[in-house]
Amino acid sequence: MSKFTRRGLIKTSATVGAGLAMPTFITSPLAAYTNAPTGGSVTLGFNVPQSGPYADEGADELRAYKLAVEHLNGGGDGGMMNTFSSKALKGNGILGKKVEYVTGDTQTKSDAARASAKSMIEKDGAVMITGGSSSGVAIAVQGLCQEAGVIFMAGLTHSNDTTGKDKKANGFRHFFNGYMSGAALAPVLEARYGKDRNAYHLTADYTWGWTQQESIQAATEAKGWNTVNNVLTPLATTDFSSYVAPVLNSGADVLVLNHYGGNMINSLTSAVQFGLRDKVVNNKNFEIVVPLYSRLMARGAGENVKGIFGSTNWHWSLSDEGTKAFVKSFGTKYGFPPSQAAHTTYVQTLLYADACERAGTFNPCGVGEALEGFKFDGMGNGPTEYRAEDHQCFKDVLVVKGKENPTSEFDVLEVVEITPRSQVEYAVDHPMFAGGALGKCNPGA
């Protein structure tokens, strides 16, 4: 075939060597970070579920993003920009550049979400990605943003892992998490339902369900409850009757539904149809708990949510200035009040813009530094802090209940208690959050 000669060998190794050295030449060293905006505008990527079980939440998130962009560019009434404790935003875009955006459909699937985020970064030049209902998606996209060197502002993601074992230096979460839900909910449940209870968990089978179930179980067992069983249900399930039926004879007197969105609507409806709420087990009324609540879900489940307890990140009926301003501008634009998903995504967009202004750059490392340890107020949750060690926001948590006498189709939840931040706070190395590393901020390029 070929003859090995010394000359040939030298030639070949020189070619191979040049080939291996190539990448150092062809990476363009011009920009200091990925997608540095060059013209008069900056592009943000809004990556939300437009199909799948969380599509309702995704649609509301998108509305909030559009509103935030309008406010950042100086349109509308400014919303929460007027009540925000930091005054760096001037309504002239971010750092004088007009804010533009691209949208994508995550389909509530990690693969599709990453493909969509990748095309935003590679094709549209997005300098920040935000969104994601479903923690699985949020974690997958957060990992991608870390690799690509852009900031990820997490939307609706409630898993402990997002800022626990899967935390990333380029990722930031404003939303609360499973641990906080458990810590806020357990004392209320103890006060209403007593210490001696047997709980049966139905849990969405992915990172969010697992960690929330673990948190609720730990928090309720600390109050003296007993956990009878925990059954994992696939995210794509639509008919929960085969999961609800075994609850009847399990000896449990509380059913905890670790479900969200369309899943929760279906499983709760199924549980109510089986007559669980009218049953008396162990001489106690059978109760249902939905640890993570949202108005959209409550509305979808209709009558069934009356009197059912849960926790939420924010609710539109709060009476602080930030909430009022946001509900007003959202209501004026769309004709109905925003959900907690809309709130957290709106706040995340403003927080990102504000951090850019304060840092004076879009460089992810500068923005990250500006967000770490940032304390702010006026965004609807009271005083809030972005903890530097894990990029999780710490703030008060709301315990809510399905309203017995709703006055409108939006007025379906009532706030039972505002659990103070101190009660839901945990150490960075808490066992439920251990095992990951933030790493270093990655500016890409």
């Binding site: 990476t27 990690s110 990172t207 994992l232 696939p234 790493g439």
Partner: protein
């Protein structure tokens, strides 16, 4: 390449040239123009074109030659991805061991499934493969969570052992590479208003695509390929003449499973994440669509079908209402809203609808897929040229 005919060599060169120039061909519109929406020349999508091309070529070896319609090919893709990600977690970020393992594991897995499913043919075979694929999906999705990380998908982390890799001092997630060439490295060429992106990962995929394509030509033209075609034409007759067809069909099944494994391994090499959705039956159905759309049993068809579907999935799904309003802003308000409302059904979330209509049209009017369309145009062209030799000179300037 002396053992393949001139026509095949020309096809191979054609694919090679297209693959090399893809960054130019797929980016016909200036970056800042309104039509830039239709540009497909960015690394992620180009990688997908090549990877799904490999997948469809492999599927075509089974379906196109033997006529056995497997509805479970996504399972091999998924298995390949998981193997590759595990290699990244355990050994190093070099893509070579990852791709080798993914091909081997997918091969073994397809040997097992093929051995059982090939006891039946026709619709029963399809149903068996579908059942196996759904079983694999359910396993990956929940039962085997420690191995697959369930719905979240298997990802690399900072704490992975990676025994052959140098110690990570940067504090960043390591990136997949081939002896130091990072898959994500991209060099952008600015030519006036145009930006062309040359990505290492894409060219690696393209090289694999060419190898896969060459191998498939060899298989098509070999006695083995002839035997597979005989199976498709009349298996009963072969059996009567005393030939046992099982070893041939099983070999075809395993080869095409390994192609899928290669695609899965490459996919994980470009983006080190493996999700269970990759194995769902809709993903398997997509592979069938690609092959039929492009032209079953042709060499080039499946690659074109794969590109066609991926283009729709990634480009049409991005056209949202705001973009539409931007296009038709010059119209009077009422008319604009009506047009946007109509187009809204076919773009953005509705891209499936557009794809469905295209698929129907192609299957009804061009049963041989895109390849038949091309050969019809080719024939028409030849006839026109042959028919009136004298006047053709003036007329035959290419219609753009």
């Amino acid at each position: 390449m002396k053992s393949i005919s001139n026509a095949d060599t020309r096809t191979l060169y054609f694919v090679a040239i297209i693959a090399i120039l893809a960054p130019f061909i797929l980016n016909p519109f200036p970056t800042d123009s309104g039509l830039a929406q239709f540009n497909a020349g960015y690394p992620d999508l180009m990688q997908r074109f090549a990877i799904y091309g490999i997948l469809a070529i492999g599927f075509n070896i089974l379906f196109g030659l033997t006529g056995y319609l497997s509805f479970g090919h996504a399972a091999f893709l998924g298995v390949g991805s998981y193997s590759a990600v595990w290699m990244f977690k355990l050994l190093s970020m070099n893509i070579i061991p990852a791709i080798i393992l993914s091909v081997i594991v997918a091969g073994l897995f397809s040997l097992l499934i093929g051995f059982i499913s090939l006891r039946r043919s026709g619709i029963y075979f399809s149903i068996l493969t579908l059942a196996f694929a759904q079983m694999s999906f359910a396993l990956a999705y929940s039962v085997l969570t420690p191995l697959t990380n369930g719905e979240t998908g298997l990802q690399i982390t900072l704490n992975d052992p990676r025994i052959f890799a140098a110690e990570n001092v940067s504090g960043n997630l390591p990136v997949t590479s081939l002896f130091g060439m990072e898959m994500r490295d991209t060099w952008t060429l600015n030519l006036g208003a145009w930006d062309f992106q040359f990505n290492i990962g894409y060219y690696i995929c393209a090289i694999f695509l060419l190898i896969a394509f060459y191998l498939s030509i060899r298989i098509f033209r070999s006695p083995f390929g002839m035997m597979l075609r005989a199976v498709k034409t009349n298996q009963t007759r072969l059996n009567y003449t005393g030939i046992n067809t099982r070893p041939y069909t099983l070999a075809a099944f395993v080869i095409s499973g390994m192609y899928a494994g290669l695609a899965g391994g490459l996919m994980a090499s470009m983006d080190p994440l493996a999700g269970a959705e990759r194995m769902q039956w809709t993903a398997s159905g997509e592979i069938v669509l690609m092959t039929i759309l492009g032209g079953t049993g042709t060499l080039l068809g499946p690659v074109m079908g794969a590109g066609f579907i991926k283009y729709f999935e990634n480009i049409f799904s991005k056209i949202n209402d705001t973009v539409l309003h931007g296009w038709f802003a010059w119209m009077p308000d009422g008319l604009e809203n009506v047009i946007v409302w109509i187009l809204h059904l076919f773009t953005g979330k509705g891209w499936h609808l557009t794809l469905g209509i295209m698929f129907m049209l192609i299957v009804i009017f061009l049963p041989g897929g895109l390849m038949e369309g091309m050969s019809r145009i080719g024939n028409w062209w030849k006839r026109r040229k042959g028919g009136d030799e004298n006047t053709s000179e003036a007329k035959s300037t290419p219609a753009e």
